[in-house]
Symmetry: C2
Subunit: 872 residues, 2 copies
């Protein structure tokens, strides 16, 4: 009945209906509001009804509204069907006046509390109901504080509160108003104020932006006040129905006797453990336990409860879903299934992928002794400790000494990326969740806290000043990007680990997801991690990384610099056994699963030494040559020089204006078919060998950078011959397929599918070409500002751009499957590990996603959620 | 009736029907062939019918087949509905035997001719009908030549021909056959051979490849032979109905009396001019003139006629559409319209865009004195003269001396592109129409002759050897890429010019084309040429070219290196009046037409000096610094060094991995809005000024590199403010629009169209990104081999790739016009001047194409043809 009673009203009614003891009250339904607003007066009969219900309230509580024996106080709360900022929230303590305040004082035995409550009512009422500027009351308080030389509101004595009440009343006078002493008057005016708040500018704008109809109106709840500070038989407290840190099923609560809710939050007195309540107020305790049980049963989730015990009577003030740690979130979800409260599907939907991800990043294990230095925005999750460095240059310098570094900047720009690359985490004074630092940090998977406005980073002096603390280079801090705070010194970090409950949840995910999960792994070690994390195959093994080892790079270079085919074949023959060994190990690790191996992709110059380095070496040798007179040394230098010049020639020959769009991928394969032939030979030989050893293995050979079906047709014909010859009699299943990473490949996917057993979306390159962004250049130069200014809603290299790149992907899936029904389609771009992208991939009918090994659990969860969310 | 009579039979029938005197004959219809092939015998009654028609033939000619008074000789010709290689063509002189040959000898008074004809019949019949290997006859001829110490067939005497006939008959004997002396037997066997040739392997394969049904069959024509060498009242000749060089309407013919057709072609005797025929054989002459007229009327085109006069009687042997020069082609087409023979539409369709293009390139004006050195493939049209150079390096060197160069290579590779850029034309020994040299030449618009296999290019010796000629560097040659030949020395070149007839044709084109024609012009001079060539506006004016002048580049650099906004604004203010002057001139030139001005597009580093140059300068200064002791000079050097280092820093800061996909276009505009604001200010100020002077002008402001609608929205909002403010009260119409050159822009064209008044396809970049090709890299590295190997059917940078890029263009047009009906859509990529691309642009509903100024005529013609071709 949220539409009629509003959110709050319905909540109170709900709890009452559950038989829980909530402070009695009643709710004016939402229909009254628009009528009041259009006529300017209460709908006919409304006030009479209110009075009637007030009477019921008095009867049930034994208190009297405005009465001098035991005065009933109420709160007046707004509550639309949709929670809406800009509307009046709550006026507490309605019913207090010059008389009842004293009754309350003696009843609670706390005159200061009574006076303070009265002061608050007058102030809130003046501001919200009478529209007296808030500052008028604030100024009066500040002046009094100065006069009494106190700093905080809590230092006001009874005497000063009396003065303040007087002054507040005078403020009303200045505005030609009086604070209404008649409680009924207070009530009526408060209700009217709630009605009117429906039409404040902020509320109207909010409705406009969120398409909420203007004629819904707000409900008004009138609830009787209860007090936990009515003596030693009174108390107030908060309780979680389970442990919010571990998720354990036991009440997790604390309380203060003879106290108000505020006191618990303020932390002035140390709260009691809940066991004490059992001893001291067993009845209330059992009510609490019972209530917690009922609420969990009803809401089917762990609850965060506020309660008050007034003169031994237990009242539930509020209940809501309890905030919890990542670990607890997963445990609670899994436990609730075991308890029969929710189904597996719901458990899966309750755990956000980000929550699981948090579990997988190192986190601070807080023990209460940490010195928190400051708070900012939690821009990139995880935590890291290191020494402070203020510049990229210095970061690079110190990183060479294997120092762990936290880069601290007022804000970061493209120039800082080098420094960020060698740092453990980042801390910035400025910037939001989409600032350069935030974007780069998330992309790098490193923790970052940004926008710590209270901190002053002084680059000239190389210091951070925050509060009383002054930090310099070499000081150690810990950045907690999960909670958005940073800590002095090295905090205890908990390294990532999947809890047993997470494993249970992930198993369930495997039941519900439709998407297969594979991993991008370039080494057998990575493949092992992927398999342990639940990957069902390798979606991308980049063979080029295998050539970077010290022994191999030399052979690779010699191959590249070969003057002719014969020479090139000689070096390829040397690489062949190494590749066979690589693949053998790979296939053994992935026993039973498919493994997609991508043939050589990057431009050849990536395997050659850096040009500037060679130029410098040549320069040095020339200098030496000019100064030596030793003939033998000269010969030596000259021969070295000529070798370097040969390398330089090759580099220059391979140099490109735009290597991303250059001579690489299948273009290389078509020019030098012998390279791909060697790789296919290695793959098939290794597979046959592993199969011979009793493993089962499904190699899938992926040809990169196909843009035209003729490229694939030509290469497949060539390579299929090599594979067929080697696998003869071995009964080996293998597939040939291609990356879809060029826009043209999407547009002509029907042509390409004729020659492909599988497609794998290379969304990194596809995004680069579809947007015309060079990622290397864009991230430093304009992407950050595009995100900051909202030109792009999200980083397309993290989440697939559905409108553009996604549209091309859809086209490729449609055309590809049209041409070949059994076409296997997956994604191996980095975005494949992103929950939103996974949802998209599910929707457009992909067969699997492939993510980096550490993202596999997140991918499994996201895939299951995608399937469940879609079927909703 | 081509289906029944075959091509040749129908042609003969057609001419007969026109009342023209062709040698009498008859045709066996195509249905007979399949029946013969399936049964192995003539269909019932066929032979009887043949004999009947032969009788008619004898009657009409007064000759007798096999007769000894005046023997009738016939040719037997195959002729399917579709011309088909691999089938038997013709057997001449059927009807000759040991007796009739002597009759023919005395009749023609030329026994040698009669014997040679007989020798040929025996040989051809033996080979084609009896399947005796061709080599058997060839060997006999060679042996006889050796014996008689002669070289050529024409040197055989009557005596030796008699010997040869004897030997040929013996060859039949060796194969256990005899040459049939019975003419009817000859005829029957020849007809059977024609039937059988329908099923030769080559013919079957050809039908398979071209989807021609196997059961069509071939017709057989039996035509009586006529001879132009029957005495002084006989003659033979060829005639064009109009001058094939100029297109003038007058018979253009030559003939030889008492001669055979072969003699005319062989050029042994100098032919007579046609005027002589008028005097010598006035009757035959008037027949020729009459026939020419009838044929032109019938075929509605200039004809190339072969005729023979036998004993005063005029025979038409063949007629076909005559080959003609580009100039003639256009004149004939235009004249035929004036003569009422064809309509304007047909005239337009008869002139190929390539023909018009030829007219616009410099061409060799041959005067007969040229020394032709050799022939190869006509790879890129036009002609150029220059001195021979054998390497790119040398070409670059000599080009600095303003020498005109022809680059000669065995074949070209990427390394030669620098040399090609500074050369006038190219000549290669190897390669085909899609070889590297051919592709690059066409792209550069320079003449090239490739694949001159008879030529030997010796790089070591730096020589060309062809036939007896030896050429060295510094020798001058002329390359005629239109005809695929090259000439010693400097030939007379005719520079491009549009003939009056071409102008008439182009005016007609303007009536029929639906596409608008604009030009890509970067300077007012180019705009003027464009306008003269018929452009109706500017489709692309690249503003960046305007910053390259010597005075401006310095300001531009200072602007780029500015430390802050204030400094940048200062330099922009200096550029503003220069830009205003540029645009003022532009707008005046294009009075009455729209002008699209593209805001700054290239990455900023393109305006900075070359990095290596700066590094070298720094190195030099450092050397100087280390050797000087003069304190003043040191200060000087240090200050120079620090300036250079500042430049170097900026260069390094702007350096990109893939500048094509980097910080340029609207990305720059969004980061430094002040640059675009200055440009818009200049455009609007200039436009208002020009309008004030009484011109009418329609500026269209084009924002480059839009990939997301938010980019355009943001920039348009900013710039519209500038424009609106300046144009207040000026009643100036202007548009804002964007290049569509990023795949994502095509996919999201509906979003982008919300903020664009016009789209202009930048198909250069769109092709680069859709294919993932960096043009600069691809053209040298793999594009040539892709074209050579047929992976790509055509160069996508010359002709739009319809399947990929074109599909995206279609999507953009559809989505764009969906969102905004009046969206103006054009193309300004280089492909916009390509006839095929223009046809495509017409089909997908573009409003205009924009091409380089010299391509405008070709574009006008192509656009009209597109419109006519589509409506067919």
């Amino acid at each position: 009945m949220v539409a009629i009673l509003g959110g709050k009203g319905a909540g109170l009614a709900e709890m009452t209906k559950l038989g829980l003891n909530v402070p009695p009250g009643f709710t004016i339904s939402t229909e009254a509001c628009p009528e009041y607003l259009s006529k300017g007066t209460f709908p006919k009969g409304l006030w009479e009804e209110i009075l009637e219900h007030l009477k019921i309230l008095q009867n049930s509580s034994g208190k009297e509204f405005g009465g001098l024996k035991d005065p009933l106080l109420v709160s007046v709360r707004s509550g639309a069907a949709v929670s809406m900022p800009g509307m009046m929230d709550t006026i507490l303590n309605v019913g207090l006046n010059d008389q009842t305040v004293e009754v309350l004082a003696s009843k609670t035995n706390n005159r200061r509390f009574a006076l303070d409550s009265y002061r608050r009512l007058i102030q809130m009422f003046g501001n919200v109901v009478m529209n007296i500027p808030h500052s008028d009351f604030e100024e009066a308080m500040i002046e009094l504080k100065i006069k009494e030389k106190i700093k905080s509101d809590t230092e006001f004595t009874e005497k000063s509160l009396e003065i303040l009440i007087g002054e507040f009343k005078e403020i009303y006078g200045k505005h030609h108003m009086t604070f209404p002493q008649d409680p009924l008057n207070q009530l009526k005016m408060a209700i009217e104020a709630v009605f009117k708040s429906w039409n404040t500018e902020r509320a109207v704008t909010y409705r406009e932006l969120n398409n909420i109809p203007d004629d819904l109106g707000t409900a008004v709840s009138i609830v009787s006040m209860v007090f936990g500070n009515m003596g030693e038989d009174s108390a107030t407290g908060v309780a979680f129905t389970r442990d919010p840190n571990t998720g354990e099923r036991k009440i997790f609560a604390e309380y203060l006797s003879n106290a108000q809710g505020e006191d618990v939050v303020a932390g002035i007195r140390t709260p009691h453990e809940i066991q004490d309540l059992k001893k001291e107020m067993p009845e209330a305790y059992s009510q609490l336990i019972k209530s917690a049980g009922i609420l969990e049963q009803h809401y089917r989730d762990m609850q965060d409860i506020e309660f008050t015990i007034e003169k031994g009577k237990f009242y539930l003030l509020q209940t809501r879903s309890g905030k919890r740690s990542a670990r607890a979130a997963i445990k609670v979800a899994v436990d609730l299934v075991a308890e029969g409260l929710i189904k597996k599907e719901e458990a899966i939907l309750r755990v956000m992928p980000e929550t699981l991800d948090t579990l997988l990043h190192p986190q601070v294990r807080y023990n209460g002794t940490e010195k928190l230095l400051g708070k900012g925005l939690a821009a990139s999750p995880g935590a890291a400790s290191g020494t402070i460095v203020f510049s990229s240059e210095r970061a690079v310098e110190l990183s060479k000494e294997k120092r762990k570094i936290i880069l601290v900047r007022p804000e970061t720009t493209a120039d800082d990326v080098r420094g960020m690359a060698v740092s453990e985490g980042f801390l910035t004074q400025k910037g939001g969740m989409t600032s350069h630092a935030a974007v780069v940090a998330r992309a790098m998977g490193k923790p970052a806290v940004v926008g710590v406005e209270a901190m002053n980073v002084n680059l000239r002096e190389q210091t951070i000043r925050i509060g009383d603390t002054l930090l310099r280079e070499d000081d150690t801090i810990t950045v907690d990007g999960t909670n958005g705070q940073f800590i002095l010194g090295e905090a205890t970090l908990e390294t990532s680990s999947i809890t047993p409950e997470a494993n249970v949840l992930l198993k369930w995910c495997d039941e519900y997801r439709k998407l297969g999960i594979r991993a991008n792994a370039n080494t057998p070690l990575e493949a092992r991690v992927a398999r342990e994390n639940g990957a069902e195959g390798i979606g991308l093994a980049r063979t080029e990384r295998m050539f970077l080892g010290n022994d191999r790079i030399q052979i690779m270079r010699a191959m590249i610099m070969s003057a002719n085919l014969a020479e090139r074949l000689k070096y390829l023959d040397m690489l062949l056994p190494m590749q066979i060994a690589d693949f053998t190990e790979f296939f053994r690790t992935m026993d039973g699963y498919p493994v997609i191996i991508r043939l050589l992709d990057p431009p050849l110059h990536e395997f050659l030494p850096d040009k500037e380095g060679i130029l410098n070496e040549i320069f040095d040798l020339k200098l030496k040559l000019s100064s030596t007179k030793d003939s033998k040394e000269m010969d030596d230098l000259i021969s070295k020089l000529s070798e370097l010049k040969r390398i330089l020639d090759t580099i220059k020959n391979l140099e490109e204006f735009n290597p991303m769009l250059g001579f690489r991928g299948c273009r290389l394969g078509l020019s030098y078919p012998e390279i791909y032939e060697m790789q296919v030979k290695a793959i098939i030989t290794a597979a046959a060998k592993v199969k011979d050893q009793g493993h089962s293995i499904f190699p899938e050979i992926m040809i990169p950078l196909i843009g035209h079906s003729n490229e694939l047709r030509t290469l497949r014909n060539k390579l299929e011959k090599v594979a067929a010859k080697l696998s003869e009699g071995a009964d080996l299943e293998y597939k040939f397929g291609t990356m879809i990473e060029i826009p043209r490949a999407c547009v002509t996917a029907d042509q390409i599918a004729k020659y492909a057993d599988f497609f794998s979306f290379g969304t990194n390159d596809l995004t680069q070409m579809t947007f015309g962004y060079s990622r290397d250049d864009a991230e430093g130069k304009f992407l950050a500002s595009y995100l900051e200014e909202g030109i792009l809603a999200s980083d397309p290299f993290i989440t697939v751009d559905e409108e553009g790149v996604g549209e091309l992907m859809k086209m490729a899936v449609r055309k590809g499957k049209q041409a070949r029904k059994d076409l296997e389609v997956g994604i191996c771009g980095e975005q494949g590990g992103d929950p939103e992208t996974i949802y998209f991939c599910h929707k457009i009918g992909l067969d699997y996603v492939s993510a980096s090994p550490h993202r596999i659990p997140v991918a499994r969860l996201s895939a299951a959620r995608a399937s469940l969310l879609q079927s909703r």
